[in-house]
């Protein structure tokens, strides 16, 4: 790969980084409050579908994003209801959402577009600035701003301290008069909304259409990024950049080489990078102590 190619890959990386960054940042927020959402993959898929559907129906990209955000919030509300109020099993609820999302988007694709695999391509071009012949989406800057914003929220504000207290030691937080359930509900809904935004971005901006199972494990890569980051929003941005880069390398080689048998092997790169990154940092990571455990008052 030559220097010029490397720059192009760098620019593609920025676009590839966005869905993982937004999803992981939302999940950092939720997990800091003690709620794990394994259903991020399903949220990405459902909101990717809805985003394209709304843009095709209305012609408005903004409405597409708004729909993704709202559906994300709604699914977050559902997860919070199970995880926070019904004290259900967070992992199992998320797994169920992923399976249901795969089924629902397949049904929706047939109902809306009359085929089993994909939507027609969007004709509205998403906004952005051109660099080296590649478009950089404004969502790249949104993702970075959200990362800094969540870092500021968690480290510099009273609300942030409450969120962390709820995730680390809900019993003491409760004793101090913090409403554990309400904080967890808010963090889960906010986190899932960001995943909704990421899903809409993937279909509206990154790909320009909806394709069956297009989330391709990114919800889980985002979960891995959260662990890699040590539950730190700035670390999650760095992690998303690394995963975005490996994704871009795979895409770039597939464009250059065309789809051959070996491009299937190149597709394994982002997943291997993710696994190695998480394995290399797992020992020093300090996760919220009450992560994944429902809080039951005595």
């Amino acid at each position: 790969m030559e220097a010029g190619d490397l720059l192009v890959v760098g620019v593609i990386s920025l676009s590839a980084m966005v869905p993982i960054a937004l999803t992981a940042l939302g999940e950092v927020l939720a997990e800091r409050s003690g709620v794990v959402n394994i259903g991020l993959e399903g949220i990405l898929l459902l909101t990717a579908w809805l985003g394209v559907y709304v843009v095709l129906e209305t012609g408005s990209i903004l409405l597409g994003y708004l729909a993704g955000l709202l559906l994300g919030a709604l699914l977050g509300l559902m997860h919070a209801a199970i995880a926070v109020y019904l004290k259900g099993d967070q992992i199992i609820a998320g797994l169920g959402l992923n399976i249901a999302a795969a089924g629902l988007t397949a049904l929706g694709t047939l109902a809306a577009w009359g085929n089993y695999g994909q939507s027609p391509p969007l004709e509205v071009k998403p906004p952005g600035i051109e660099v080296l012949g590649q478009r950089i989406s404004p969502l790249v800057f949104v993702a970075i701003l959200v990362g800094v914003g969540i870092w500021w929220l968690l480290e510099k504000t009273r609300l942030g301290h409450k969120i962390k207290a709820v995730g680390d030691d809900p019993r003491s937080a409760d004793a101090l008069g913090i409403n554990v359930e309400r904080i967890r509900l808010a963090a889960t809904v906010a986190g899932a909304s960001l995943a909704g935004l990421a899903g809409a971005y993937m279909s509206i901006d990154y790909l320009g259409s909806f394709v069956k199972l297009m989330s391709g494990g990114r919800g889980f890569i985002a979960l891995a990024d959260v662990a890699f980051s040590g539950w730190n929003p700035l670390g999650a941005l760095l992690g998303a950049a690394i995963f975005g880069f490996s994704d871009a390398v795979a895409r770039y080689y597939n464009i250059v080489a065309g789809t051959t048998a070996s491009s299937y092997l190149i597709n394994t790169i982002p997943y291997i990078v993710t696994l190695v990154a998480v394995a290399a940092t797992a020992r020093r990571a300090r996760m919220p102590r009450a992560l994944g455990r429902p809080y039951i008052k005595e």
Binding site: I38, M78, I82, L86, K87, G88, D89, Q90, I91, I92, A93, L95, G96, L97, N98, I99, A100, A101, A102, G103, L104, A106, L107, L110, A111, Y116, G216, G217, F220, I221, L223, A224, A227, A261, S262, Y264, L265, N267, T268, Y271, I272, T274, L275, V278, A279, A282, R283, A285, P294, I296
Partner: protein
Amino acid sequence: MRLAAKILREAALVGAALMVGLAIGGLVAVFFDAPPLGFLVDMVLSARHLPDMVVEYTALLALTATAFAIPLHAGLFNIGAEGSFYAGALVALMVGVKTGSLLLALLLGTLAGVIVTGVAGALRVWLGVNEVLSTIMINWVMYWVMLYLVVDALADPVFTQRTVKVPREARLPWINVAGVDIPSTIIVSAVIIVGVWVFLRMTRYGLLLRVVGANEEAARMRGVNVGLYRLASMLIAGGLAGLAGSLHIVGFSYSIDVLGGTVRNYGFNGIGVALMGRNDPLGILAASLLFSSLLAGSQVVEPIYKVPKEAADLVIGIVIILLSAPTVFTIIRSRLGGGR
């Protein structure tokens, strides 16, 4: 009597969740202009037209569900049956073609499954890597490796839509039950499930495995090597899923199509089966049969009612979401039990 009451309560819970899931399946039918009741009844009952498929799915799902259930008994969420299933299928196919030996194909296929899920177990025990993440990453890696091998090293030179076939001498013979030919994978599967049940309920190791999952601290204080039991649970799980993949190749499909459809989703559906079967061997067998009927039935009714077979996925996903919530009762009970 307490046991009977417990079984009744669990069955009622699963039944209620299933009813809601099916009701939503009915709504889907309405959406696609099909009569909801006729669609649902036909989806569940028309599976009888495909007895060999139902039997095969049941055999495989019971194994992959057990691959989820055993690590869960030890406190781990193993999502890796899918990847181990691919590994088992690929290795069984390669070995079957190269050596023509049924036994070697099954053994090495199982071993491949052990290794794939074993990696996640080792990462968890020695490096503290969350097993949900590692198994999902490994699934994706195995998915692309599977597609690569299917279109490259294992490709059939004549029939380009599938791989080479396992030769006759390396195939598991079918059996005839009451005039119906069915794959004998179900027998292997049943024997293994019974063995696992005996191991979990009647041996000291099985008991300790469950102690590790129920109360890690208590297990540690008793001097149990928690890491070793967890690793063992993942190795067993990998073996079960690898065996399922191998059995599917030598006992039913004999080859893999170029899109990988032959081997996909058995691992993932196994998770649903285990959850619906409440992690109990008998529950898993019953849930496998139900899932298999839904999956086979949804394929039969697809061309009749023009409702996509993915309706079954939606029903299954919703049932799992519903079943996740009422664990509140289990949590409360275990808390009270811990305080004694």
